[in-house]
Structure formats: structure tokens, C-alpha cells
Symmetry: C2
């Protein structure tokens, strides 16, 4: 029964592989150099106040001299936490998710956390898998998954926790969610448009299956019954510039005087399309967007749109996650009430 393994606590080891970048210093080497135990080095590196200042200085000097950097992997294992949080989104090219990424990145970064990012490319099943995997490499998760079915999310809730949901609320899911009141936003748009005398509206629908699109559509569908004399047409469209651009012809064809676009990119695309077709905005047709992406102010004419607190969502997501991770509970779900921003793309109905 060999005992030698027990004898050299801090001594040189054999080491077959090289997990550390070549000759990286380890805590043992620093301990040796400073003539103290590994425990003391650990204490110093973690700023424990109960260390003799003189020793601490010696340790710091040794660490410096050896270019010592604690192994993140070893700390993760010993500590049982990663120090990271993860974000999973359907599409990184969508300004909405970019804002969340940004808000989260800044908030988490300020708190000294790493941020893991994964993109599902709009595939709901992939999203769930990525979320699971991301979660294994992080202590918490922010999930934007507008397409995954409610049940799927509920089924995975346990394994994903702690996590927070953005741009979406799933009934019966035990995770804080931060969402947008789409119906309210559409309500404002419609009130604005009908107030301007518009009676024939057309909705440029977002991707089928998108929860946001479903809510906006539902809110819109309720209008003709509620406001007398208002008609609504719905055109399948999409979520990108190109989709809106391509829809312009169909828009004029359907004879509506106002187009409610799924989002700002679509709205902006349709603006360009209409211009190419020689249709004046807002003279002949009014156009509204949704989201208030940075670009919306700079379209021609500037886009009337529904503003939602995009960066705030990222910041809040962090705050909720932080609370969850420190066992404080996630708090109430919140639903942000969007605000209508009237700019130049809407005007009185013609005729």
C-alpha cells in the first residue's frame, strides 16, 4: 500500500497531462515559493481578513512573481458555482434580443459575472436544448423563447431553475417573467389611428408561432367588433426588413389607409417599399411599427411606433436572476406597459 501519495501535500507531482497552459503556476507552487500552506495562499487570494499582513504580502509577492492566476476550473469545482450566467435567444440579429443582451451583459458584468450567450436560430426545440446545456455551465439563465410551447417550458422548469423568462409569460411556470403588454401597445396604436380617421387597417403579421405576434394579432382582431366601421386585413409577412419591403405591393393592393406592422424592421421595410411604389407616407398611407429600435427615429418619415423598455428588460432580468440565485425569491412577474411614440409616419386618413 503505497503511502507516498500522502506525504507530499504540496510537493511536485508527476502530472501526465497538461491541464494548465504549459508551465502555469499553481496554488501549490505559490505556497512553496512563499513558504506557507496552500490554505493560506487561498485565503490571501480571496481576501480573507484573518491573515497576517506580513504573510499576505509575501504570498502576493510570490503570486506576482510567478504570474499566478487561480484556475477558474478548479474554483468552479471546489466552490460548486460557475460565476457565470447564460442568455439564450432565438436570433442575435434581432434588435430586441440585442438590447436584452446588452442590458444583461452590462449588469452582469458589473457584478463580476461572466455571460454565456447562445442562439437557437429560431428553432424552439434547439432553444430548449441550448438552455439546458447553457445552464450546466452557468449558475442561472435568462431565456427568451417566444416559440417554445408552454408545456415544454413547464416540464423543464425544474431543470432550468434558477432562470427568468423575458418577452413572455407562461402560466403555471415557476419562474419570474418580464414581458410586454402587447395588447395594450396595439390598443394605443389603434386608438391613435382611428382617432386620425383611419377605418381600413392592415396588419403585417410576424412569424407564425411567435407569442408576441399572436398577442398583437389577437388584440387587433378584437378591434372591428369594438370600434364600429373599422375593417382589418391581415397579411402574412415576417419580422425582417426584407419581409416588410416585399409586402408593400400587397399593402397598396388591399386598399388599407393604415398599416400596423409587426415590428419596426417590417415597418421600415414597408416604408421603403411604399416609397419605391410612389405612395406617400403619411399622405396616402400611415405606417406604425413596434419596439422602437434605435433606427426608428431615422427612417423617412420617422416612424410612429410603440416603445418598449428593451434595455430595462436586460437589467431587470439580471436583477431578478441575482435575487433568485441568492435565494431571495424571484418576486412578482412584471408586464411593462408600452408607450406610443407618435412621429412622422402617421397622419390623418386621406379623403
Amino acid at each position: 500500500m503505497s503511502e507516498e501519495g500522502l506525504l507530499d501535500g504540496a510537493g511536485a507531482r508527476r502530472g501526465r497531462r497538461g491541464p494548465r497552459p504549459a508551465g502555469q503556476a499553481t496554488i501549490s507552487r505559490v505556497a512553496e515559493a512563499a513558504g506557507v500552506s496552500r490554505a493560506t495562499v487561498s485565503r490571501v487570494m480571496n481576501g480573507s481578513p484573518t491573515v497576517n499582513p506580513e504573510l499576505a504580502a509575501r504570498v502576493r509577492a510570490a503570486a506576482e512573481a510567478l504570474d499566478y492566476e487561480p484556475s477558474a476550473a478548479a474554483r468552479r469545482l471546489a466552490l460548486g458555482r460557475t460565476g457565470a450566467v447564460a442568455l439564450v435567444v432565438p436570433d442575435l440579429s434581432n434588435p430586441l434580443f440585442q438590447s436584452v443582451l446588452r442590458g444583461l451583459s452590462q449588469a452582469a458584468g458589473k457584478a463580476g459575472r461572466q455571460l454565456l450567450v447562445a442562439e437557437s436560430d429560431e428553432d424552439p426545440e434547439e432553444e430548449v436544448i441550448l438552455a439546458l446545456e447553457a445552464r450546466r455551465n452557468a449558475d442561472g439563465l435568462v431565456l427568451a423563447s417566444p416559440r417554445a410551447p408552454d408545456e415544454r417550458l413547464r416540464a423543464l422548469g425544474e431543470r432550468l431553475a434558477p432562470f427568468v423568462l423575458v418577452y413572455r409569460e407562461v402560466p403555471g411556470l415557476d419562474a419570474p417573467s418580464l414581458s410586454i403588454d402587447n395588447a395594450a401597445g396595439i390598443g394605443e396604436v389603434v386608438a391613435h389611428l382611428t382617432g386620425l380617421g383611419h377605418r381600413r387597417l392592415v396588419y403585417l403579421a410576424g412569424p407564425p408561432g411567435s407569442a408576441g405576434n399572436a398577442e398583437r394579432l389577437a388584440a387587433l382582431r378584437a378591434v372591428p367588433g369594438a370600434v364600429p366601421g373599422v375593417e382589418l386585413a391581415v397579411l402574412a409577412c415576417g419580422s425582417m426588413f426584407g419581409h416588410g419591403h416585399a409586402a408593400a405591393a400587397r399593402v397598396v393592393e388591399c386598399g388599407a389607409s393604415a398599416v400596423v406592422a409587426f415590428n419596426d424592421m417590417v415597418a421600415s421595410g414597408v416604408l421603403t417599399g411604399l416609397r419605391e411604389l410612389g405612395v406617400r407616407v403619411p399622405g396616402e398611407v400611415s405606417v406604425t411599427g413596434f419596439d422602437d429600435i434605435p433606427f426608428a427615429r431615422y427612417t423617412t418619415p420617422p416612424l410612429t411606433t410603440v416603445s418598449i423598455p428593451q434595455n430595462e428588460l436586460g437589467r431587470q432580468a439580471w436583477e431578478r436572476l441575482r435575487a433568485l440565485m441568492s435565494g431571495e425569491g424571484g418576486g412578482y412577474n412584471v408586464c411593462y406597459r408600452p408607450r406610443l411614440l407618435v412621429r412622422g409616419s402617421t397622419g390623418p386618413a386621406p379623403g
Copy 2:
């Protein structure tokens, strides 16, 4: 000399803390349940072909039953690699870096790698620190650092490796770099503009200290000497919509017939500003951008700009990093030659 520690290789341990999420299964538990050794479980989980199929099945069943997921932290430590790569950028709201993020995210994701993202908020020193830290949690790094001084980067090269630099080339740095030939891009713009008869150009400069801005500016400064009769004014501006927008008045004031904007956002801002001032584009003034962000096609008029392979940069960055990480060497630096995209915002010089 206690020997008991040696006796229980796989036996139950005392376990003071709970590094694993509550009652998470460990490889030992699975081994026990399946009646095999931990080594075998490890082999099965990693798809080693040298395992008896029957045993493998038993192991998989046990793993399934226990909801076993290998601890990422433990693997990192044992394997000596993280399975992740990191990206550090100055500003996540910049479309340029968003594209790189996207390209990298997709390429790395496809290769089963996690992606760590950090944003320096334009602070060069912070960038370097973030890079160092990110690097400790990833096996490789993609760094976009347009502002950090050359020497600083050279000094840290060793500790950052393996890494690749994007949108920038640092002489003497031992890291592959993927960059844009800014001078060539400006060259095309100038040729186009002078060909159209423009003689008085104004450059809307980007952030001082930006390497890209410096190169574009230098290329522009060389013009008056080379092309007879051409004058160049330079206006401090910035990199955002708002900066361009605010510069519109100064642009008309300076009497130039063509404005060369630092990038597409600035160009787009100035387009809006000029419109508000009642200046016709391209009738009275021509405007060019740089980068060809997705929005550039949808401004009014559509922006003439310099197209650079944004997503390609991300993909290539991954490819280079992959090669580097597997010891294949980083290959040659590459400098992409941009392409002029003539759209509607440029036209013949007036008069």
C-alpha cells in the same frame, strides 16, 4: 498515518457543502446503480466504442433514471479545457460587432462550443482586463479592440493566446488578425465621388482613437494631393445615428457637395438631418457610408456604402481560433478588400 482515505475509492463520502444542485446524481451514483465502475460510466458517457453493449445499455438506463448530467466543472478540471471560447468587444450596440458575435456564435455553436461574451464599454484598458479574465474561462479568445495601444496588446499577447484579432492588425503581434482594408474602401468611395464630379468633400470623422477611423482619415487626407482640385474638410463627429444627425447643419455650412461618413449609422443620421434641413440627397449633396449594415438598404435614399464581410469575419475568426487551439497554427493574416455598393444616396455634383 491514516490510510482510510485510500480505501474507499468509490464509496460514499462525507461531503460538507453541496456543490451540486441539491441531490444531483454524480458519476459514482450512476456507477453504483448500474453495478459498474466509474470509469465505465465515464466511457459510456463519452461514447467510447470499447464498452460491452449490454453494460453500456445498463449504464445509460441508470443515468436516465437518475437524471444524471455530468458536471461541467469537474470535466473542465479533469480535462484541462473549458469547451468555451470568448469574445470581447468594445460595444455590443455597434452593428459591426454584433455581426461578428453572430458569425462566431453560429460557428462556435455548431462546433459544440459555448460562447462567452464581454463588453468593455469602449474603455481600452477595461478591454484588456476583460480579455484576460474571459480567457481564463475559455480555451480561446476573439478580440475586437480598436482602441487599445499596440504595445499593450503586444505585451499581453502571450497570456491571451490562443486568440485572434478582428478589425485590426498589430505589427509584431503573434496572433492571426482579420481586418478590413480601410484605405482601399475609402479609395473606392473617393473614386466614385470624384468620378461624379465632386470636388469639395467633407469627412464626418469617427471616434478619435479608433484604429478604423485613423485609417480612413489618413486615406482621405492623401486625396487632395493626389487628385488635383479636390478639397477635403474634416468634421469631428462620432459613430452613432445621433452624431450624424447633429452634424447635418455643419455639413451644409461647410459647403461640401459630398459627405463621406465614418460609418453607416452616421451616414444615416446625416441623411435624416439633411432632409430636415430641406437639403436634397443626392440632388444637392451626396452621402456615403461605410460597413453596409442591414439597415443601409432601407434608408431614404438607400445608402451608397462600402460593404465589408461582417459575418464572414465572425466565421473566419472561429475557424482561425479552432486551428490555433488544435495546434495547427494561425495561418496568414487576412485583410478583406471592401466593395463599393452604389445605391441612391450619391449622384452627380450639382452645378
